[in-house]
């Protein structure tokens, strides 16, 4: 784990990268990193996130600035710009049920070949997907998701990169931390090693490549 500036870490993300972005409607989003992606105009990126937040909040700003070519999310309803670009054909939107989305990311991060979920069976999202009947119940096979980068937000880190999240700002962050080649964590506070007790660590530091100080 290395401590870097927001600017330096965002420079590592190339145009066209697949990027997971933590947060739930902007809560628990890495806002300094998102703003820097917008400032550096990183373009044609594929976003994997719970939602596209609001036009002026969280990952929504990346959409509004037309920097994403595709989003894989569970919800776009709070950001009218996403639907507008989708209708124009300038952004591809793949909608995935929220519980399936987070479990696909977990499967990608933890080495599973996919997940078998009852969610979505019999609906239009099951079209073209493999259905398996297990012990009398139908499940849908959904494949793992991985990314080139994950940008996540935590409340606190220690110098080993161990992370602690705050309340509902946790959401997708710890799961995304497992599933990208490079993981950048934006934190509010960096503590000396040993000040986060082992039982209170939410994400072990081994998952984190870079820590940046956010706001």
């Amino acid at each position: 784990m290395r401590l870097l500036s927001v600017e330096e870490t965002v420079k590592m993300i190339p145009d066209g990268a697949v990027v997971m972005v933590g947060g739930f409607l902007g809560v628990g989003s890495p806002n300094a990193l998102i703003d820097e992606i917008v400032r550096q105009k990183r373009s044609s990126i594929t976003i994997i996130a719970n939602d596209t937040a609001f036009p002026d909040r969280g990952v929504g700003k990346i959409i509004v600035n037309k920097l994403a070519k595709k989003v894989i999310v569970s919800h776009i309803g709070t950001n009218p710009e996403t639907q507008k670009q989708m209708i124009e054909g300038s952004i591809e939107v793949e909608l995935v049920p929220q519980g399936t989305l987070v479990e696909k990311i977990r499967a990608g991060g933890l080495g599973l070949g996919g997940i078998l979920t009852p969610t979505g069976v019999g609906t239009i999202i099951a079209e073209g997907k493999q259905i398996m009947n297990i012990e009398g119940k139908d499940y849908m096979l959904e494949l793992p998701l991985k990314a080139d980068f994950a940008i996540i937000k935590a409340k606190r880190a220690d110098c080993n990169g161990n992370l602690v999240y705050s309340l509902t700002a946790r959401n997708f962050n710890p799961i995304m931390a497992t599933a990208a080649s490079t993981v950048i964590a934006e934190v509010e506070e960096i503590l000396p090693v040993g000040t986060i007790p082992p039982d209170e660590v939410h994400t072990p530091g081994i998952f984190i490549d870079y820590i940046v100080k956010g706001r």
Binding site: L25, H75, T78, P97, Q98, I125, K155, T168, R170
Partner: protein, 217 residues
């Protein structure tokens, strides 16, 4: 007449049982929290990762890291617990959630709910709705009986389904309807409407039992 959404929320609140774990969707379902009977204590789960959510106790106590699934600031009761989205949806999909109350665009004679998109018009996405309807022990749809005069309780959903799981109860400002193997059973009607009005406002066939009750709101 009272605003339909409060009538619906008030009636839904009577379905909550002491000790239940409950997830309230955005919109009308959120209003249910204001009408919970005094002797009923439930725990609220929110899919963004908390059990023990409460309304914001007072203005000024907002915390940027504590919101409901609609990104509105909320509070937490003593003994609340937070967790990541994987466990949150594990709770939902794994059958640990006693009740979810969700809004609806259509419900049909098989009790199938459609509430996540209107093709070509409005595509908000399913968010957590598909998992909630598939996984919760009990699903109540809380919605207005019609939309701009068009019935929302239909023979067969024309909108994409949220799940093929039959919902357990439909509560509107006009009626309480229970989907069953035999079809939609009209359990209660509002004191403000006549039976013919309910039937007329409903595209689906309704089974009208002898003991049809008056909706208490």
């Amino acid at each position: 007449m009272m605003d339909p959404k409060f009538i619906i929320a008030k009636r839904v609140a009577k379905e909550l049982r002491d000790g239940q774990l409950v997830n309230l969707g955005i919109g009308i379902p959120t209003l249910v929290v204001d009408y919970i009977p005094k002797n009923v204590r439930v725990l609220f789960q929110s899919e963004n990762g908390i059990i023990g959510m409460s309304p914001l106790p007072e203005e000024g106590l907002e915390h940027p890291d504590l919101t409901n699934a609609g990104a509105n600031y909320v509070g937490a009761i003593p003994g609340a617990a937070c967790f990541d989205s994987a466990l949150s949806f594990g709770i939902i999909r794994g059958g640990h959630l006693d009740l979810t109350v969700l809004g609806g665009l259509q419900v049909d004679e098989e009790g199938h709910l459609a509430n996540w998109m209107v093709p070509g018009k409005m595509i908000p996405g399913m968010g957590g709705a598909m998992d909630l309807v598939t996984g919760a022990k009990r699903v109540i749809v809380a919605m207005t009986h019609t939309s701009k005069g068009d019935p929302k309780i239909v023979k067969r959903c024309t909108l994409p389904l949220t799940s093929i799981r039959r919902v357990d109860l439909i509560v509107t400002e006009m009626a309480v309807i229970e989907p069953t193997d035999e079809g939609l059973v009209l359990k209660e009607i509002s004191p403000e409407v006549r039976l013919e009005e309910v039937v007329k406002s409903t595209e689906a066939s309704l089974i009208i039992p002898k003991d049809l009750k008056v909706m208490e709101v």
